[in-house]
Symmetry: C2
Subunit: 405 residues, 2 copies
């Protein structure tokens, strides 16, 4: 057992007691394990001695600390371990024997090459849930292709439906293929743990970036499957509803989504344009879509009379979904709702001061997510983890000299 004090754990999350061995790096895998850690799991992040997760040196590095790394590795512990050394591999296997979950985001096949085949993992720990987050899945003709968010956005069909007709198809700047895959990985992991609880047997869980995006098309894929036609790319306009989209007001633009006839009637009523619904040119949605440009002029002529904030209050009060296209400063500095929801956290990182990062997307009233610990320094918990495994201080010192830890 440990002769180092185990750091105090704060309020317990629903996954408190679940042990996760984390072989991931960069983004999709670390996001998956952060979601588990935020829920209270004990995540041990295994990193190469002297190098660590490449993200430690990426993004905006302030005084030697990457805030990007900090934001995706909170609540984890770091163990520096050379997995090519026999002693390093033995330590990894000891951790796996005692773990509930192993998460990795290598290319498919790498875990096998490391000797951690399904058979070996099952022999070490028959209850283990092994979760893989990757680009294309671990079978099929593209399994060995290098994956990257932009490529997953391109190949999944996602880019081809975004943007404006006649211009390039459009990716999103945030790497949502990575993050959605990580989130599916976390969901699958926790679901699989329920199976373990009941039947006693673990299994392999996998979430791929392309598959994750493909699952997120909703009415867009349903429309394709029924009609077999690629939808026109309509930018911010709704393909089959008008008026709908971004509109200029007396001060700035607002997004308005009159998503059905009832809400449209409210929208027009607030604008003082109810009478147009009696006009055969605008009475039906197909007619309105044809005259989208005319309608925009009529709507904006009314909206010009007041500023964005006034219209937003007025329209929301009438039940019309609307809002500003907010900049990041407006979201993260000024938005009272974001503040209420604590979607910006300021986390004390010893030696670096307070680091700002986005908050917890899942709220729970009995065991709310908390930052129990900031993102770890490389190998910060090496001594603590090895002590708990039974290694004495001399052995750890020797491992460190030989750069095994």
């Amino acid at each position: 057992m440990a002769d180092m004090p185990v750091p105090e754990i704060g309020r317990e999350g629903p996954l408190s007691g679940i042990k996760v061995v984390d072989l991931t790096r960069v983004l999709s895998g670390p996001f998956c394990t952060m979601l588990l850690a935020d829920m209270g799991a004990d995540v041990i992040k295994i990193e190469t001695p002297g190098k660590g997760d490449p993200v430690r040196g990426q993004g905006d590095v302030v005084d030697g600390l990457s805030w990007y790394f900090a934001a995706f590795n909170r609540n984890k512990r770091s163990l520096a371990l050379d997995l090519r050394a026999p002693e390093g591999k033995a330590i990894l296997e000891q951790l796996i024997e005692d773990a509930d979950v192993l998460v990795e985001n290598y290319r498919p096949g790498i875990l096998d090459k490391m000797g951690l085949t399904k058979e070996r993992l099952g022999a070490l720990n028959p209850r283990l849930v092994t979760t893989s987050v990757n680009g294309f899945g671990s079978t099929g003709p593209y399994r060995d292709r290098p994956a990257f968010d932009f490529i997953a956005q391109a190949m999944s069909g996602f880019m081809a439906v975004n943007g404006v007709e006649g211009q390039d198809p459009m990716r999103t700047a945030p790497p949502i293929a990575d993050l959605i895959a990580g989130l599916y990985g976390a969901f699958g992991t926790v679901a699989a743990l329920h199976g373990v609880t009941r039947s006693g047997g673990g299994q392999h869980v996998e979430a791929a970036m392309v598959n994750g995006l493909v699952s997120m098309f909703a009415f867009v894929s349903a429309g394709y499957f029924t009609r077999g036609v690629q939808p026109l790319r309509t930018g911010n306009d709704h393909p089959v509803a008008a008026p709908y989209g971004l509109f200029h007001t007396g001060s700035g633009e607002i997004a308005v989504a009159p998503a059905n006839d009832k809400i449209l009637a409210k929208f027009l009523e607030v604008l003082g344009l109810s009478e147009i619904l009696d006009d055969s040119r605008y009475a039906t949605n197909p007619e309105r879509v044809k005259r989208r440009a005319e309608l925009r002029i009529m709507v904006e002529a009314k909206l010009e009379a007041d500023d964005a904030a006034t219209w937003i209050d007025r329209l929301n009060a009438a039940g019309v979904p609307c809002g500003r296209v907010q900049s990041l400063a407006e979201v993260f500095e000024d938005d009272p709702q974001i503040r209420d929801q604590e979607m910006v956290l300021e986390v004390e990182h010893p030696g670096y001061g307070e680091v700002r990062m986005t908050g917890f997307p899942v709220k729970m009233d009995e065991t709310p997510c908390v930052v129990r610990r900031p993102a770890p320094r490389l190998g910060e918990h090496t001594d603590e983890v090895l002590s708990a495994l039974g290694y004495d201080a001399d052995t750890i010192r020797e491992f460190r000299q030989r750069r095994i830890v």
Copy 2:
């Protein structure tokens, strides 16, 4: 107990045995409960008699069946129930007493108005996990605003970072704010169920559309927090790397993501352009970003010599992430990887034939997700569910005459 036969359940999922009372409609909530149902949970979808989920009449309806509805309600059972009738409410409460999870996506406060306050739910079932999926969260100044995917994309800051500088900010056509909130709701639900298993007490779980998107900015939010500057919108180009993006070949465009110096060197080597790295005008990334347009011309001059498929094979073999911007037809009809991953399902709907929909984004080897049942007809399982609750055939007939079920 039931005097109707309970339909055979296929291979069990990890959530088999978990009972979910589903008060959701449209998209974010139904996606959440579908993810739970796909994992084996028994989801009872409660719908207004004679009307049902509005999505039953939306999207592309073929011979009276909405394929959009079918795609997001597989593996669920449907109970028609008038929740305004005292008998309807009593039946709902009976279901809640015996359930593990209640999921709703009303506007905040509606559940309270229905009498299902936190206190009442706790009295009915202290182990219950109650999950809310909504737009802005259930506290804060915007809690009562009507939510809609487009508005969440606008207000979260997501649109403001997508698209091309000098043009409008850009939403995605798929309603990802809805779906990400639903996925977070499913993850939070399953995590909370672990807490229940250990401590015996349920809790309230919440996932909001804006919060979900805010959590998905990765290096974009980290960059904002360190520098306090709105990033330029660079379309499909990488803000701080070049060459990177969409490039014309001899036949069509390809997306190429040379994400670090090592991969860039490989990319240039395959193109026969290695020598440019010795040229001071292109030796460093900041210089290359400044000369992005020149580099594009040089890269495309080389790429013109062959077709897209050849370059994709060649670049992937060299470890350079790349791929085509695929249309939906290319993804859903032709892509051998999508076929291998079974990301298109053909589900038999009795009376309607085979319905195509997207497949399961989480793969598991021991208990793979399966379609145990197609999306239900409105009230298809009313008799079965009420019989299991102890109602006899005469009472059910009376309820039906009075339109309570």
